[in-house]
Structures are given as structure tokens and as C-alpha cells.
Amino acid sequence: MSAIPANFNGFIAIVKRDCKTCQLIAPVLRQLAATGDCLVYSQDDPAFPPGIPSIRDDRELEASYRLDIEIVPTIIRAVDGVESQRLVGWQREEWRALTHQPGLGAGLAAFSPGCGSKSVEPGLPEKLAYKFGDTRLGARRIEVAPLQDEHELAFERGWSDGLPIVPPTEDRVLRMLAGTTRAPDEIVGVIPPDFAPCSVEKVAINAVMAGCKPAYLPVALAAVEASCRDEFCMHGLLATTYFAAPIIIVNGTIACEIGMNSAHNVLGQGNRANATIGRALQLVIRNVGGGRPGGVDRSTLGQPGKIGFCFAEREHDSHWEPLSVERGFAPGQSTVTLFAGGGVHVLGDQKSRQPESLARSLAAMLRGLHHPKLYGGPDALLVISPEHMRVFREARWSKARFRKALAQELLVDAARILAGKNGIAEGMPERAAGAPAAKFREGGLQIVHAGGGAGMWSAAILGWAASGAKGSVPVTVPVTA
């Protein structure tokens, strides 16, 4: 339904009693209404302005929503049922010009600013969009009984990862959906292990539960999309007895825009965006995909990052190209990279001031990951701290040079690490002997810069034992609005 009648020629005014300017111009509106070609919509009182017959009652705010009113008073000129011009607030000369009535508002102040429309009060745009717009939410409604606690209901229904969730009411989900231009019924991907089609709406519901702000939704959507890529192998990642789970690394301008942490305690708690985006992805996998610990999730020990693990790369003072640029995206472009990773391992070195020493030192610690005698297994994500980065920056080492030095240090003679060597049954198979073994497969080491300014500690996040083509490879997707 249009708020402008078909073929209407004239004026439409939208006002509310609770506005000093609307009260000021009541005589103007009476004068216009008397000519018979002015419709007056009142947002809060169908008896206001007094003295005008047939005021249109817009307490439901449908006309205000359909006319996209932000300020009252607003006057719209319609020609043949179509808006041709609008004015907001009271500007005497402009109203006179619009209405071709030179004496309009004589005796009134020349200018008086308007007030906010009731239709844009906090929380209302989403409700009105749902009530009168094209937005339709398809999710099943679950009514919480009067004496029932909605938080307990969420636990009882198995929606929670063990922590309380924000109850996903219609209002909250509508506000969350305002964070994206994508339609609620658009399918983001098919989520394992149930291979369930996942809509933007379902991601929004789980993002509400995780505690996300609407501005985070595009990042959560990109993360869900990445997790559905075949090469990420989310199903196997759930089913494994290993530690790994999806870790989200955010690059580009979106990280700053939504206030993500890339500095102190970057892999820890305390930042809403970091904490809730990672959690939103895990809740989608749990609730939409059906992946739950003890069910398809067979992890022996798990790790705390399975509640959610998300952080941003510290790009602003890094002299190395960010992860997303290494992976083919333009500098500054917002991306999400998903890495199948486990827990955090300390890479401590407080003495190296030369890049050669630090590269050797980091490699020595990386060689011990998973098992010192097993090579070519899990990938790794290396998080270089600012103080370690300083050593490479001052020596003018590029990322490529660091990678090359590290790769050389990560090669060993396989004969030294065969199964049974050194009195340890574990180790490389006999067939590996006779050639150098590399700790990580080609392309299996991701490197990012993150962390607080002080501390000569970097970190390694170990990947999944089934890394590469046989299992999971990192996936990077752009973040879109």
C-alpha cells in the first residue's frame, strides 16, 4: 500500500503533537488543509493539529515508514501520485515556494527545526520494516512460557556451547539483519555434518545468541561461507579426535571499523568482536550443522578455542604483507581466513637480536610441534609479535626472506627421525629415509603479525593432523556488506 493515493495531486504533511515545530505550524496546516489538497498524517494524536477534519491516524506509523520519514514536520508534494519534492522542518520561504502561497505562515518565525520522526525511534525501524516491508523471517517461533526462564530454555534445548546466550528474539534478529544487505532467506552454505542449508537469517539468529553486534554480521557470514568450502573440510575437522577447530583471522579495514583487537592479549579474552564472531561460527556449526561434542565432534581433548577463536592481524605497523595479501587479495580489502587450528604454543626468545638467530630459534621450537619426530603432518599458523617483528624490520628482512630462512631450518635428514630411533617408537616411516623431511608441507605455514607492543614471545597455533589436500587447507573469502 502506498501512503500517496493513486493519481493524487497536492501535499502530504506528517506531524506529531509532541513536536514544538509541528505545534507552531498548526495554523499553516489548517490553511493548507482548507484548500482541500493537503493530507495530514499525525503520528501520535489523531486530533492534532486541531481544526483539521479527517486527519489521518498514523499511530501505527505505516505511512511514516512507507514515506521514509525521518523528521517531522515533513511536507511532500505529490504529482500524479508520485513524490516530486519534500521539505523537512519549518522553513517559511521554502514552504511558500513549494505551495505557491506567498502569505503562508505570516507572523510565524522564518525557521524552526523539526523533531525526530516517531518511526525512527530506537528499535522501531526494524520492527516497521518487518511489519510493513518485504522482510520475512522464516525460522520456527518458540514461545517461552510465562514462568519459564529463556536462558534455561536455551540450555535445555541444547543451543548453548555451555555459556549463557542472548535470547534470539524477533527484534534482536531483525536488528542483527540490519548489519547486512543480504536477504534473510539467502543461503550462505551447506553446513556439515547434517549438510543443512544455512540462511543469512540462521546465521543472524546464532550471531545474536553469541553476543554479536549487527556490524559484525558480515564477518560472521564470511566465516560461515568459508567453513562450507569443500577444501576446508569442516565435516572431517569435527569428526577428528584431534584438537583443531576453525580459527578466524580477519584482515583489512573491517577489523578497525568494528573495533577488533589485534594488539594486547590478541589471542585472549576481553574484546567483544573477537570473542563473539568466533563464537557465532561455532554456534552455527552446533545448531545449524548439528556438530556437537560427543556426537560427530569426536575430539579427544578439544581446546578452549572451540568456544570461538577469532582475531585480527596487526597490519598498521607491520612491514610484512598481511596474510590476506599473501593469499591474493588487495591491501586493505576486508577478508576472513579460516585456519583449522588447535591450541596456542609459546615461542619464547628474549635474546635474539639478529634475524638469523631468531629464525633459527623459532624453527627449533616449531620442529617440536605435534611430535619432534613427525614431519609433514599438521600445518601451523605462526603469530609473530611486534617485538620479534622489530628484529626482522631493523635488519630489513622481508617476509619472503624470513620464510626462506625458516624453511631451511625446518628441514631434517629423515634418517634421524625414523620410527624407533632414539628409543622412541614414534617417528617417520622407513620409506621416508634417504631424503630430507620438511616440517610443514609446501604452503602449510601461515604467518601473521599480532600482539601487544612488549614481550619477546611469538606463538604457534598447530593445525590439523590431516592438513593439505587429504584434509583441510586454509580458506580466504572477502567480507561483503
Binding site: R141, E143, V144, W159, T169, E201, G290, K470
Partner: protein, 91 residues
């Protein structure tokens, strides 16, 4: 009254009946599926010998990688060629 939106996929899982357990292996085609875990083949080799001694023919199958679900064509082959299947999950 508070109304919540369901965060799950709202799917009703299909209910499948277990096939009746065969009374005997005589005349049955038995599939042996190696999921590509290390030493799974060792276990299946032993089973194949054991089945052979009972006069049962076994057909061998192998998943390309243990980390992914079996490809649809492999599952269809097993269904069309076997009466029952034994899957080796080993390390």
C-alpha cells in the same frame, strides 16, 4: 510472552531401520572398506584371510582420505555389490 527464533536447522532426521543381522555369511558378498588410516589395511588383510577360510569372498574398497566422507560413487558401488560391509577404523 517472549518468543524466540529457532537457531537450529529445524530438520527432522529421517528414521532408518537397521537391516536384520544375517544369520550366516554363506553366499554373501562382504565388502571390506579401508578408510585410509595407517594400518587399517593390516587389519582388513587379516579379516580377508579369516573370511576366505570360511569360504566367503570379500571385496576390497578404499576411501581416498580418512578426513572426508566416502565419495557418493564409492558408497553406491558398495551398496550395489555387497550384502554387508566391514569398515576398518585404525591407527
Amino acid at each position: 510472552m517472549v518468543t524466540l527464533l529457532d537457531p537450529t536447522n529445524e530438520a527432522l532426521p529421517a528414521q532408518r531401520q537397521m537391516l536384520p543381522r544375517p544369520q550366516s555369511l554363506a553366499g554373501k558378498q562382504v565388502g571390506l572398506l579401508d578408510i585410509s588410516k595407517p594400518r587399517g589395511d593390516v587389519f582388513l588383510d587379516q579379516l580377508e584371510v579369516k573370511l576366505g577360510s570360511l569360504g566367503v569372498t570379500a571385496l576390497r574398497y578404499r576411501k581416498p582420505t580418512f578426513a572426508r566422507v566416502a565419495p557418493a560413487d564409492l558408497r553406491q558401488r558398495i551398496i550395489s555389490e555387497c550384502d554387508l560391509v566391514i569398515e576398518a577404523l585404525a591407527d
